[in-house]
């Protein structure tokens, strides 16, 4: 599936761009030939992407609850009614803000920890490197629900070893809004930094050693090497892991659902996905859920596009 998708990025369909591109051999009118090659991929894409998104959009403008699904009541067209209901709900905005801030913090922390460990990996001996790799891959491989449950035990107010170690007595991590979010953030970083670490580590290993040697011969510090040499060379990789993390952290569900008992005290730790589940799926309001899904899709698309655009403006060939 991923292979077929490389097609749209091939030069023939690109317009504009830098002038440094070598001229295409036998450059005649493109005609229909490229589309012909693209057709199989497009058919798969249409089936897997366009149709479901169309259905999602369609349901979001209907009244569609369990009663409609099982035939108790007829389906009716609501226009933007579901969206109006959503946007006039103050809790939705509160949850949306919390989700954006929380996801941003998660992404930044994950990237920072992942990159720091990736650099560390290149600077330690084989045995500790292996140990670090195995430990972090273990965290990565742990299912989110298992990880969350174990963390809840570690931080339990009555029986948790962390409180005993830190001498916090019976401090409840999940009672305060910020301490609960902080706890979930730690868990999210713990289980998602290994992906960043491994990807960035692979990227660093691909950087020619001469470049790094030249930099250190010029007297560049560690931080300087990272900022001026490694980071620019790794930009495409960082781009990918950032987008991955944004999408992943924006859609977070399991950790919040398990660790804060479905949204925390009086819903203080709700994020968009859990809110959607509660408001929509648990009460079978599928159309409202679809509306929330559309909103999430648009936000994620916007974030991704803006990010791509920024990277492109900086002259990066994607």
């Amino acid at each position: 599936m991923t292979q077929t998708l490389t097609a749209p990025a091939t030069p023939p369909v690109r317009k504009g761009g830098g002038g440094a591109r070598p001229p295409r051999s036998g450059s005649r009118r493109p005609g229909w030939t490229p589309w012909l090659y693209l057709a199989p991929a497009l058919v798969v894409l249409a089936g897997l992407l366009v149709y479901p998104v169309y259905q999602l959009g369609l349901i979001s403008v209907l009244e569609y609850t369990q009663a409609q699904v099982s035939g108790g009541e007829p389906t009716s067209f609501q226009g933007l009614g579901n969206y109006r209901q959503l946007f006039t709900d103050p809790q939705f905005w509160q949850v949306l803000t919390a989700t954006v801030v929380f996801a941003a913090l998660c992404v930044l922390s994950t990237l920072f920890v992942g990159c720091a460990f990736a650099v560390l990996l290149t600077r330690i001996r084989a045995l500790p490197r292996l140990a670090l790799l195995i430990a972090s891959l273990g965290a990565w491989a742990t299912p989110a629900i298992t990880g969350s449950t174990v963390w809840m035990f570690l931080f339990d107010a009555d029986f948790g070893p962390v409180n005993r170690l830190l001498g916090l007595g019976d401090f409840s991590w999940t009672y305060g809004r910020y301490s609960a979010f902080a706890l979930v953030l730690l868990e999210v970083v713990w289980c998602s930094f290994p992906f960043v670490m491994v990807t960035v580590y692979a990227g660093i290993r691909a950087v020619p050693t001469e470049v790094l040697e030249a930099a250190s011969l010029d007297g560049a510090s560690q931080w300087r090497v990272w900022r001026s040499v490694l980071a620019p060379m790794l930009r495409p990789i960082l781009l990918v892991v950032t987008i991955q993390s944004v999408i992943w952290d924006f859609k977070i569900f399991t950790q919040i659902y398990v660790m804060t008992d479905g949204g925390g005290i009086a819903g203080q730790n709700l994020v968009l996905n859990v809110y959607a589940y509660q408001q929509a799926f648990a009460s079978s309001e599928y159309s409202l859920g679809a509306a929330i899904g559309v909103v999430m899709l648009l936000i994620l698309l916007a974030v991704t596009l803006v990010y791509l655009r920024l990277m492109r403006r900086q002259g990066e060939e994607l």
């Binding site: 599936m1 991923t2 292979q3 998708l5 490389t6 749209p8 897997l48 992407l49 479901p52 998104v53 259905q55 999602l56 369609l58 349901i59 209907l62 369990q66 009663a67 409609q68 699904v69 099982s70 035939g71 108790g72 009541e73 007829p74 389906t75 107010a157 019976d170 401090f171 409840s172 999940t174 009672y175 495409p236 990789i237 781009l239 990918v240 987008i243 991955q244 999408i247 992943w248 859609k251 008992d261 479905g262 949204g263 005290i265 009086a266 819903g267 509660q278 408001q279 799926f281 648990a282 009460s283 079978s284 599928y286 679809a290 899904g293 899709l297 994620l300 791509l308 060939e317 994607l318």
Partner: protein
């Protein structure tokens, strides 16, 4: 560096996530079959209990009796896990060809399932059934929507006050006879034993909190001409809410721990010897017997505001219903009568301890098993039921009441503001459920 292949995975995942939501594409169909064949096999879904063996035995006996009376009709009983029942039952409503003929369902789901068009109206058969006359009022209300009957009550569950006999004796605390005395006793125990909760309460324990509202004369909602209006913000309801939320605090059950607790958590705390009292159901008996408190506790009905009163409890429990899509309606109703009849309910009580829904059968049960006496007393004093509106499922799953209690005990809002907001959310739900 090609971005698209890497981008493709998350985008595909994103859309696949959307796909699961869209799997149920818009389609509307009337699922009632309209047929009533007099022969053929029946399929039954019952809930899988934690210790299901004794229940299965009772069911097998009832099924054998049915099969004997109906030659040529066999019954296939499946036990479905309680956790995923909502998905399974919704799926059954959507796909009549793989749906069972008879299901067991939680009584708070009745109105929602009726609105979904899943349950058959069996008012006539139920009225003509001789045993049904002894069905108690709260149980009857739990199968009734708009005056029509959509099933037969299978068993009821009700909550009462568990207390620690050893602690009460040690600290010379009298068994409380009013709700105020419950609070006073709780504080006395907490003071004497700072490691324990006086009475274990939970911010997410809706059915433990409701008796406080009802005892103060308040309630959840009122029906007028088929339209429900929330009464949470009434003075009487607010008094009840205040009485319950006052139990949260350093002198009984600290909010930092108790705000998040649900019913199971309070029962677990009591069973583990961490509380002087708890509001638990007859169905929690086994958990107590398996816990540290075995032999050191007793149960009384939760008292009301005045001496001699019993706080109205929530009548939980399960019903048996016939699916609208069944092709063997008469046979299915006959099977329901056999499964939920007096004989089977009495056996089910012996096997599982589930309280019968027939007043006479229940009185017999209480006579032979003293433990259930306070629960039967509570039921006989008049148990109450949640609003029989399809909106209830939505109010329940969007955590309107736990949110209200948690807002109050964590100090975010006062009783008046929190109850007003919750009442508004309930009214919105009632309005959109029509």
């Amino acid at each position: 560096m090609k971005l698209l292949p890497r981008l493709a995975a998350p985008v595909a995942a994103l859309v696949l996530a959307g796909l699961t939501a869209t799997a149920c594409a818009p389609q509307t169909s009337d699922t009632s079959s309209g047929k009533d064949e007099k022969t053929g096999d029946l399929r039954v879904w019952l809930f899988q209990e934690v210790n299901n063996g004794p229940k299965a035995k009772v069911v097998d006996r009832a099924v054998a009796a049915y099969e004997k009376a109906h030659q040529g009709s066999k019954v296939d009983v499946q036990y479905i896990p309680v956790d995923s029942r909502a998905e399974k039952i919704k799926a059954a409503f959507n796909d009549p060809s793989s749906a069972p003929d008879v299901i067991e369902y939680g009584n708070t789901d009745t109105a929602g399932y009726v609105r979904d068009g899943g349950l058959a109206d069996i008012s006539e058969e139920f009225a003509a059934w001789d045993e049904a006359a002894d069905t108690d009022e709260a149980a009857r209300a739990s199968v009734t929507v708009d005056g029509k009957t959509y099933g037969a009550p299978y068993f009821v569950g009700v909550r009462a006050l568990y207390y620690r006999t050893d602690l009460f004796e040690k600290h010379s605390v009298a068994v409380p006879e009013t709700l105020d005395e419950v609070a006073a006793a709780a504080k006395k125990i907490r003071k004497a034993e700072p490691g324990l909760y006086g009475i274990a309460v939970g911010g997410a324990y809706t059915y433990g909190a409701m008796p406080f509202l009802w005892a103060h004369g308040g309630g959840l909602a009122e029906e007028k001409d088929g339209v429900y209006t929330s009464t949470l913000a009434d003075k009487k309801s607010q008094a009840g809410i205040a009485a319950y939320t006052d139990l949260f605090g350093p002198d009984n059950c600290p909010a930092a721990k108790c705000a998040q607790m649900g019913g199971n958590d309070t029962v677990t705390a009591f069973a583990a010897g961490k509380a002087g009292m708890a509001i638990g159901g007859d169905f929690s008996h086994q958990a107590m017997e398996d816990g540290k408190v075995k032999g050191k506790y007793a149960v009384v009905p939760l008292p009301g505001t005045e001496k001699g009163e019993i706080a109205p409890a929530f009548a939980g429990g399960n019903n048996l219903g016939v699916l609208k899509s069944t092709e063997r309606r008469s046979l299915a109703v006959d099977l329901v009568k056999e499964l939920a009849g007096k004989k089977a309910q009495s056996e089910l009580f012996d096997a599982m301890g589930f309280l019968p829904t027939f007043t006479d059968t229940r009185a017999e049960a209480a006579a032979e098993e003293p433990f259930v006496k306070p629960f039967v007393q509570t039921l006989d004093a008049g148990a109450t039921f949640v609003p029989a509106s399809p909106a209830w499922a939505r109010i329940d799953s969007s955590l309107v009441l736990p949110t209200m209690f948690q807002e109050i005990v964590s100090g975010r809002k006062d009783v008046a503001a929190a109850s007003r907001d919750a009442a508004k959310k309930m009214d919105d739900a009632f309005a959109s459920a029509g």
